[in-house]
């Protein structure tokens, strides 16, 4: 074997051609590399498949192609500077990453954003949950063969991205949360845009349902495929729809409520069989529940009140007084140049991300940069179930199995 041999063992992919097992006198296992540029791996991931005919005997995901060292970057930046980097872990659901990071920093500092800002954080996180599920639904259906679904899903996602753009100026890498709340006001017609979305979306979602839920081809491709038993799901540490699809009721928003989730009414949808179809139903229902949450937030939210915490240690001073009062100007310059220093300590804050439990573990040594940042991304943990699900599945189902986990490689590799 030479170094250029495509089957040459690498440090993390341990398969070579000699691994192929003799099945009978006339046939042997085939090793097939799926990816890293395969469109259905949703990014740059390689899956090494061992095949006995059309059956997968072993699947080994090889990750790391999108590793950028985000955690290490977090240890070299000041707390407020790291927020734009969190956008780039799970880039289809950036506001939720922002929420996770900001909540961790706020807990470390022992501060809490004003109530109105908390409601807006929930609204943005839930809209982003819908946007993320729409990307998942579109690409998952596309992988299985329903091409038009991806176009429909991306059409509705545009409405959400327009809301994000209106709110913060960016559509994908939003960087919309700040320690202490929001230092910028809410655009006056933003609520109208959200109302419009809440009005339009249920009928559109019914369209997706009409196309897929009872479609015999969709059912044939998804029901009974990739079954994860509840105890296996627990053993692998799955979270999110992968866990709830197997019927286990665990949602961080209910188990350890953060922001204002304890004041909101919503159901946690559960599956029964733990197959690809159940996870599809769970995510569809999660989108409906997210709409309910946004609706309640708009109704319950205080109409005025501060959006930003008035805190001289950790929050950025109001923009319009920086050049007017000497005190704010001093605070502003210190905040920007030196940053703020949370007291020494460590926190772990978990939130319910659209893909599962997103945890930020931050250690402070009392300096303006974190001593350690660790991001527990749901995608990385959920991906580990792939070899289990793929065992004995057909090659044609491999794309359905990858799609059903709902991974984003930026988040897996970080």
């Amino acid at each position: 074997m030479t170094a250029t041999d495509p089957g040459a063992p690498t440090s993390f992919g341990t398969f070579d051609v000699s691994d192929e097992r003799q099945i009978s006198e006339r046939s042997r296992e085939m090793v097939l590399n799926m990816g890293p540029q395969h469109p259905s791996t949703h990014g740059v991931m390689r899956v090494v498949l061992r095949l006995d005919g059309e059956q997968i005997t072993h699947a080994d995901p090889v990750i790391g192609y999108l590793h950028r060292g985000v955690e290490k970057i977090g240890e070299t930046r000041r707390y407020s500077q790291f927020t734009p980097w969190t956008d780039r872990t799970d880039y289809v659901a950036a506001p939720q990453n922002n929420v996770g990071w900001i909540l961790a920093v706020e807990k470390l500092c022992g501060i809490e954003a004003p109530e109105r800002a908390q409601y807006w954080r929930v609204i943005m996180a839930e809209l982003s949950r819908i946007a993320s599920h729409l990307v998942w639904l579109g690409t998952h259906a596309l992988d299985i063969g329903a091409l038009s679904m991806s176009l429909y899903c991306f059409r509705e996602r545009e409405l959400i991205l327009d809301i994000f753009e209106k709110f913060c100026g960016a559509r994908l890498t939003t960087n919309m949360m700040e320690v202490g709340g929001f230092s910028r006001g809410i655009p006056p017609d933003l609520v109208g845009m959200i109302e419009n979305f809440l009005h339009i979306f249920p009928s559109k979602q019914q369209e997706y349902s009409d196309l897929l839920t009872e479609n015999p081809i969709w059912i044939a491709r998804t029901r009974g495929i990739g079954v994860i038993e509840p105890e296996v799901a627990l053993d692998y540490g799955l979270t999110g729809a992968c866990l709830r699809g197997s019927g286990i009721n665990y949602d961080v928003r209910k188990a350890q409520p953060y922001l204002v989730y304890d004041r909101l009414e919503f159901d946690v949808p559960l599956g029964t069989n733990g197959d690809v179809y159940d996870r599809y139903l769970v995510r569809m229902e999660e989108m409906r529940q997210a709409l309910r949450i946004v609706r309640q937030c708009l109704d319950q939210m205080p109409t005025d009140g501060p959006l930003m915490l008035n805190d001289s240690n950790y929050a950025i001073p109001p923009h319009d007084t920086v050049m007017r009062t000497a005190e704010d100007m001093q605070r502003h310059f210190v905040w920007v140049i030196k940053g703020f220093s949370p007291p020494p300590g460590e926190v772990y804050v978990a939130i319910e991300h659209s893909k599962g439990e997103l945890g930020h573990y931050v250690v402070s040594d009392g300096t303006p940069t974190p001593y350690r940042v660790r991001i527990r991304t749901p995608d990385f943990v959920n991906l580990q179930i792939l070899p289990y699900m793929a065992q004995g599945a057909l090659l044609a189902d491999a794309v359905a199995l990858i799609g059903t986990i709902d991974i984003v490689l930026g988040s897996v590799d970080r």
């Binding site: 407020s80 734009p84 100026g169 655009p187 009409d210 050049m323």
Partner: protein
């Protein structure tokens, strides 16, 4: 059998509606007021003078250190902006530079078509950035 036609009904309904897409680049979409394009330098709308006071906060807050600011002594014995370089290949378009600018001299302009043939084209100098941003209103005040 009915379920197959349910799907077709959705497809046929779409057939008669107008397209959702636009013919980019012939047609360009309107950007929101807070849109974050290339960070640029604003000028005073009345006098046309650059607003920057060379405090350096933008370069300090930049998460990727893509802004480079050179300060020179001014004729009045004060300090003023010498050269201002933006390495846009590293820029995250996070808007923090425009947020922390105390005099709103940096704006997130509406420039987003930034591809070039060579790497040097991604580096913008003060003159270029001033050209992009001179007409821009105060970005932070946008709704």
């Amino acid at each position: 059998m009915l379920n197959e036609f349910k799907g077709f009904a959705v497809t046929l309904k779409r057939l008669l509606r107008k397209p959702e897409t636009i013919e980019y680049p012939d047609v360009k979409r309107d950007m929101a007021g807070r849109f974050r394009g290339l960070p640029s330098l604003r000028a005073d709308p009345e006098t046309g003078e650059a607003l920057c006071v060379a405090c350096g906060l933008c370069a300090r807050i930049c998460p990727t250190s893509c802004l480079e600011m050179h300060v020179v002594p001014s004729e009045e014995g004060d300090r003023e902006l010498g050269e201002f370089i933006l390495r846009s290949g590293r820029c995250l378009f996070c808007g923090m530079c425009a947020q922390v600018c105390p005099v709103d001299a940096i704006t997130m302009s509406k420039q987003y078509e930034l591809s070039t043939q060579e790497r040097d084209g991604l580096i913008y100098t003060k003159t270029e950035l001033a050209r992009f941003g001179e007409q821009d209103p105060d970005w932070w005040a946008q709704v």
